[in-house]
Symmetry: C2
Subunit: 420 residues, 2 copies
């Protein structure tokens, strides 16, 4: 369960209610017209789980039980969501296989990852929406050479491909009879974690992806059935304060939430950093912080620096860990004894509350999301919460939330330079 709270004032005026109604109508239309596809994933991706169950029987490597390493080759939208879910769950759930990610062109990182893997226990999943991502194809070739993969016979069961239907990578897979899953055309990379992109590797690793999809579905249904008003109001507040509070901080109080904040940074930055219909550059800058660590880092700037930020606190009510500060008194450091006997779970949440209160006292707009505990269902709800919030704000800002024209120029320059 997620619970929500906020400290900024928002009591919708008639004009604001119109903005809210229009945005809700706009995303309903995106959904119902089929123009934007991510809204369908919580239901449509259930079929992928069924398909994987069959594949796990027909694929001789999977059915043998020898696959212990699910190796994803992907970057950006093809890795961030997978990593976000995996890092939240890997220490909490008994998985059937371990996830590994190749997600950068850094040679040292690629070499390190290669050195940790053995061919016998690995299944490789190549993910590229367009099918021609330069980092992904280059690393895939490196993997083929390193493990001497014979894609025409023995090893074509050791590879899966996730890409747009009809892409170059899709045709390649067809050619080698490699199992492929497709990403719906109307689902963008950064909105794709609940498509095959996330569901295939996460299911093969052993996570309860049915619960992940269920958590997302329940939250989205509630919104479209007239519930979760706080989300609509937050979107309107963020939209109206987009210039004043142009920096949006996600302050998460748990180490394992770090990759979820990175996923949020991509979702928010790429979706909302745009030129609007009037030709104006708009964009809200996302920043991910981890508590309590960043109380000792970024917090000073939030408190005393320019009042250009809003902060959302995320905390975990129950870490399902009862580690306690022992009843030890250290001579000369007795002044910290008042905390003896408390759990770290209590401490970190008390730190979250105190930091939030100090921001409120300094006039920084804050709100909070409490995750009852870290499980698939709650993670699914968090994912769809941020996707819906992004879509709502994008609609209010009158921008195309779903493209990323700005990144093409760098690719063009890269190709031109490398082909010289």
């Amino acid at each position: 369960m997620l619970s929500f709270s906020r400290d900024f004032n928002f009591d919708a005026t008639a004009a604001q209610q119109t903005i809210i109604n229009n945005a809700l109508a706009a995303i309903k239309d995106e959904k119902e017209s089929g123009r934007i596809g991510y809204y369908e994933l919580p239901e449509s991706s259930l079929a992928i789980i069924d398909e994987l169950a069959l594949e796990s029987e027909s694929n001789s490597l999977l059915s043998s039980g020898k696959i212990k390493d699910i190796v994803v080759i992907g970057i950006g939208g093809s890795s961030l969501g997978i990593k976000a879910v995996d890092s939240l769950l890997s220490q909490r759930v008994d998985t059937t296989a371990k996830l590994h990610l190749f997600e950068n062109s850094d040679p040292v990182n690629i070499s390190q990852t290669l050195s940790k893997l053995t061919k016998a226990s690995s299944l490789f999943i190549v993910i590229s929406k367009s099918g021609g991502t330069i980092e992904t194809t280059s690393i895939f070739k490196t993997v083929i050479a390193h493990f001497d993969l014979d894609l025409d016979s023995a090893d074509n069961e050791r590879v899966m491909v996730i890409t747009d239907s009809g892409s170059a990578l899709s045709q390649f897979a067809d050619n080698h009879r490699i199992k492929q899953f497709n990403i719906p055309d109307n689902v963008g990379g950064r909105f794709s974690v609940l498509s095959a992109v996330g569901i295939v590797p996460l299911t093969l690793a052993g996570y309860d992806t049915r619960a992940l999809l269920g958590g997302a579905d329940t939250f989205m249904d509630a919104l479209f059935s007239g519930g979760e008003q706080h989300l609509l109001e937050k979107a309107c507040y963020y939209y109206e304060n987009a210039e004043k509070s142009s920096i949006n901080v996600l302050f998460s109080y748990a180490n394992d939430l770090e990759n979820l904040t990175k996923w949020y940074v991509q979702l928010w930055g790429e979706s909302l950093g745009k030129i609007d219909r009037a030709g104006k550059s708009v964009g809200m800058t996302p920043i991910g912080l981890i508590g309590a660590v960043d109380q000792h880092s970024f917090l000073q700037l939030v408190i005393e620096g320019p009042k250009d930020k809003s902060v959302t606190f995320i905390n975990v009510d129950d870490f399902e860990n009862d580690l306690r500060i022992p009843e030890i008194s250290l001579k000369k450091i007795e002044k910290t004894d008042f905390i003896n006997g408390k759990t770290f779970n209590e401490l970190i949440n008390a730190q979250c509350d105190a930091t939030r209160q100090s921001l409120i006292d300094n006039g920084v707009p804050t709100d909070g999301i409490t995750i009852s505990k870290i499980d698939e269902e709650n993670i699914g709800a968090m994912i769809i919460y941020y996707e819906l919030l992004t879509s709502l704000i994008g609609s209010m800002l009158k921008i195309n939330t779903y493209d990323q024209p700005g990144v093409e120029l760098g690719k063009t320059i890269l190709y031109a330079n490398l082909q010289k």
Copy 2:
């Protein structure tokens, strides 16, 4: 060696030269008056390395060679710098021991770290400048209980303490005859990586900290002898554009640079996010990105979003890794073959260049730092480069670069809430 380049125009006018001269004079005065201590560390910390050599003989655990895990308990300025250096070097240098860090009050993270350690191979270093950091003392107590440390006899050699002279933690160490190193009073936490805070754990792990200090010393000497003018000009440019380009992005093209960007975020955010003498909130917002990954994430916002950002690109000229993209042509994906045969080292640097060029074409002010290769000397130079840049801009902004009054309120609230 570091080499520097920039794409923004800066040709100092007489007025700008005055700003530069005043700031340089101000930090020279900070140094020579002894008011600010970090300038002395590249020389004064050499004595710590000598002291550690003696300690390694007299401490029976260290001299036995059984210590394979250096375990640091610290947070913020007491961990970020150590982690930055260690993650750059750990895969590149043969170390004598592995570094581990306890740096958050997250119970799951503490439990995980505990489970990886054995008492016999561990030496624990407790770092807290003030001596009473609540996370640090709480985790230290947990470590004492978990490993049943007897600090009055057998195990007092298994612990070291790094803190301000006379602090509660210092008195505690005296009481138990625990070896301690002190942080000079005039060195703040976020400027302390070249003090005992960084030098003790990094030396014990087996890094060449003499070269680290040497790299910092050489760069600083050059600045104070009239060289490295580009740094002064960059400081002036950043100062004059502090409102226009209020977000400063460090875009580092190597996975292992991620923790250096986190160190930079603390240094920049806590130092420059302040209320100035006129009572105005100033502050430049630091953001750390990793290339090529974040080309698929944050880049869109930089290109098309508000022009409120400057970007510094950091790249590594020589990764000392010759991994090549194999000469494999994948049927249907032949269009990526033009890159076959190139090294990933070439690819990632070409990506850095292309992304930078795309920002220049979009009017974003950029500059670049190229690190010839990752070694202690170059890391030392990077550290002092950013410390000096921070001090110069702080002086120009007329703020106190070295305090952090904004974070006290949260601590007060926390203590009050927990003592209820």
